[in-house]
Amino acid sequence: MTTANGVKIVGHANYASRIAESASLLYAKNLLALLTSLHGKDTGVVVNWDDEIVKAIALTRDGAIVHPAFADAREAQPA
């Protein structure tokens, strides 16, 4: 698009998806690293809900919303 001042703005809504191959490999590695950290030899993948990382990324747990930023989402109306 071109603005009133003649400045051209070019872009894409979802850039990472345009370079899907590399993005997928990196994202897959991020997931692998996380699951490996949750994995125990005898237990498989177990979520330690007191862990700093888990606390930061967990939104829901066993039917409850646990992330403080979404505590009020229970009453949310569908968008």
Partner: protein
Amino acid sequence: MKIAIPRERRPGERRVAASPETVKKFKALGLDVVVESGAGLGSSITDAAYEAAGAAIAADQASALADADIVLKVQRPLIAGEGEVDELSLIRKGALLFAILNPYNSRDHVKAYADAGVNAFAMEFMPRITRAQVMDVLSSQANLASRAATSRAPSWARW
């Protein structure tokens, strides 16, 4: 334990949440991996490549997700009324869902995960601490995007 990798269904999404390399490593940990047929095609990864790495290929999404203990996705699942299929309803109660969930723009989804009994984790909320650096999707995805944007902008603009 079974990990499922469904094909992404949101428009324009070509990424996939596992690669043959990560499948191989999950298998080495003793985890089973099921990939929905065609899940990697948008990223030029064939079913055969996943299979060679040790994954099972599921013919459709429902069979990929059935009994999965862990679901790895790129974007949040479609919920009822959103698209061709209610992806969330195919994920079993008690399963762990890891994706870039974009919850601030989808609060109704957060409620839906809770109602479905799915334990959902937003990868973009990864804390910026040393231990989590290898799990940081904002770094891994944004670095690529910025590099591509600056290298491609000249070809879009007519000088």
